[in-house]
Symmetry: C2
Subunit: 464 residues, 2 copies
């Protein structure tokens, strides 16, 4: 008995018509009346399940099967029957059903609808529920779509380190990683903990960004991207922040901010199209039950051109509408989500790049513009969410970079290797960061980051 | 001036013949005599560079260019000239050369050959050296080949968590991740550190394996794989161990050990073939300068069938040759690399699966065989390296699993969610783990794990 996946049945139903197939999966629903029963079987190969019809006169163990609980694992050997009149276009008429593993009335995923909050407490089982089955299938497709996009264009996938000895990435609070006996750590003469006796003979943390290392790789390969976990130790209870999340950080040499925006736009369109092509059943589900405008919104992004406005222009536009905002806009302040959404949803009604932000609200490595006030940064804003990508041209001029670091009180010694990139064969280069969970929320309409991560880690929560 | 990558020139040289092209890259070598100069330019798009010929009478800044140091970044606009008689089959005759970023005589990567040890101290620059350029290109291709293999077969890519609250994965020493003020941590009534005040309100560590979580996902999707960083805090100074490394862990439902071995074999053949097709220049370099038998060995794996022997049979074979081994073989002891290599290189002369190991030397979750002494484990051994993959069928029977855990002193409460998988819809399932760096070492012939990781983290070393 070769097993057939349910996804294959949907791909070419005609080729199975009248044939015997063997399907393995988990019972989603089951009911029976006397000598006839129905179960919906799902095997995770696609969003939809298959209806299995079982009859007392056709299988030996009708009573055993009729008593099965939701969640049981079974192998069904049956005839594939097309049912063009019915709601589902085909079903299986069972000849044999083997119970692989039973379930029980205590199985937490009964047919009734559960709250997302409750489902978070059973993260080990919730991938079997529709929302998460679809979300993690989209997540997998989106991840591959991103790899495919970059690899097809000759980018090198760079594994930048998770453990980092340089505590100066500057993007946020960090977790310390240590093997010291914390109850009784070794101490130096000053009485403080002696991290030179730690595993790496220095204090180490979990990375907040692979960008600086990705720049090293871009200066050898020309085009690289990272795709890995990053960490922020800020206490946050919002729907948008997790302590552990995945980031994609491309970096391109011999390239300026325009090249960077082109890349970000092309990538975004590519991955959306890839997921729409790969996961139509899943997106249909989200469009119907989670976010009614989802497919239209995604289609719109794929088809529209992207607007471009400088920060200074954006501020001029937004200031006219300050009465509508909780936070007032003025030149020099960072844009809030409400402003970003207003720009992309109301003003431009399509994705928009905002560029050339005041240097004070951006990172030290961003390239100074000739005005001396703004840097060559860009944010991509999209309807429904606001900022989804942030990037910049990097400061490739050694003298400008060290001057800016001095202004900000950063020590050159901590960045010697980063500065070396400007000493030896520097060139204009640029990159951006895409928070992968933010993308999945955008692709699914799911509002809480906890529901797009298989095992989310947020402030106070590292269950499982 | 649209930039052309050097890889494109090699892909279809004829299409460029006689045309003007613009190439950006870094100077690998440069020499001149009076009015004529040559530089080798590399842009990282492929292993090979392109020879640029520059003449005083053709470019304005001959003197500036002739004085350039190795490592400088330049943009060359020139005519593509085929040179069928020469060592390299084409060259560029420069019309214009722009200096993007100079270099200096202090540039550490001068033409002379450097030791790998030295190059490790300049991890930010070494990707520009041949060995690392090739190694990280192979690494990127292998990563994508693995994703491609699994995605084409309908596997779901599962991001299992890095930070874990369960300190019971059992695969080795772990790093603690914390945001507590370690100099003055909060303490409980017993005087010990109160981790309930830590970021996750409990003690958390860095994962050593995503397998248990991958099993949760496999019980929803049928076929899943992880591909992410894992951590081991064992002090080790060998060439084979890093504290941070990447692992691939597929997990398949409704599958037994034979399915697992088929999957491991198919994946290994696929990824080797993919890298051979994608990186021929790089493999040629390794074959010539690093490991003379490399391409033959890889070809052999792709083309050969795989042998299969039980652990018990393997021990019988090996015992006859105990005089040749440092460690004597006897039933019940774990096989050492010398034994593994002997089996695959001398006895079978091809890859071999060893299965059904004594339960005492394997993990608690492996499925007990009917003999009560061995478990349904498998290791894949390959010539030149020994074990490259380890996997098993998992114990799907709740009573057997809890009995084994009791024998080993593991608490059921710590594994409640893992045991739930056996309570609700359990089924025979299996999986394996592939250490990604081990694979890259195998694909390149590189002997030290520090040289296949862009920024290696090993005992005492977390530079950059």
């Amino acid at each position: 008995m070769t097993r057939t996946e349910i996804a294959s049945l949907y791909q070419s139903p005609a080729s199975f018509s009248g044939k015997k197939v063997t399907v393995c999966g988990w019972v989603r629903t089951i009911r029976d009346s006397k000598a006839l029963g129905f179960m919906e079987l799902n095997d995770g190969s696609c969003f939809k399940g298959v209806q299995v019809v079982f009859e007392d006169k056709k299988i030996d163990n009708f009573k055993e099967i009729a008593k099965l609980n939701v969640g049981a694992a079974v192998t069904v050997n049956g005839e594939f029957v097309e049912t063009p009149q019915a709601k589902q276009s085909f079903e299986l008429h069972a000849c044999e059903i083997l119970v692989e593993g039973p379930s029980s009335p205590e199985y937490p995923l009964q047919k009734k609808r559960h709250s997302l909050e409750y489902l978070r407490t059973i993260a080990h089982l919730r991938p079997r529920a529709n929302t998460f089955s679809a979300a993690f299938r989209v997540r997998s497709a989106a991840a591959f779509g991103i790899h495919k996009f970059f690899q097809e264009r000759g980018f090198i996938y760079a594994h930048t380190p998770i453990l980092t000895g340089s505590d100066c990435e500057g993007a946020g609070e960090m977790f310390t990683a240590t093997t010291l006996d914390l109850e009784d750590p070794p101490r130096g003469e000053d009485g403080r903990i002696d991290f030179s006796q730690d595993f790496f003979e220095k204090h180490t943390s979990l990375t907040v960004s692979g960008q600086l290392e990705a720049e090293c790789m871009a200066m050898a390969f020309g085009k690289v991207y990272t795709f890995g976990p990053t960490f922020r130790a800020e206490k946050s209870y919002t729907q948008r922040h997790a302590a552990e999340f995945w980031m994609i950080e491309p970096e391109i040499a011999f390239a300026d901010l325009n090249d960077d925006m082109d890349l970000a736009r092309d990538m975004m369109k590519y991955v959306i199209r890839y997921v729409m092509d790969t996961c139509p059943q899943d997106l249909q589900f989200f469009n119907q039950f989670v976010d009614k405008g989802l497919i239209d919104r995604l289609t719109h992004i794929v088809e529209s051109d992207f607007a471009h406005v400088t920060y200074t222009e954006a501020v001029e536009i937004l200031k006219k509408h300050n009465s509508q905002f909780e936070y007032q806009v003025d030149w020099g302040v960072d844009l809030q989500t409400e402003h970003e959404k207003y720009l992309t949803e109301q003003v431009f009604q399509k994705p928009v790049f905002v560029t050339d932000y005041p240097k004070e609200i951006k990172s030290f490595y961003m390239r100074m513009n000739d005005d001396g006030r703004t840097v060559a940064a860009m944010d991509m804003l999209v309807p429904g969410i606001g900022e989804i990508i942030g990037g910049s041209q990097r400061e490739e001029r050694l003298d400008r970079l060290t001057a800016r670091m001095k202004e900000l009180g950063l020590k050159e010694a901590d960045y010697w290797w980063y500065l070396d990139l400007r000493r030896f064969g520097t060139n204009k280069h640029a990159g951006f960061g895409l928070g992968f969970e933010r993308l999945i929320m955008y692709l699914t309409g799911i509002q809480n980051i906890r529901d797009v991560l298989p095992f989310p880690r947020t402030t106070g929560v590292a269950e499982f």
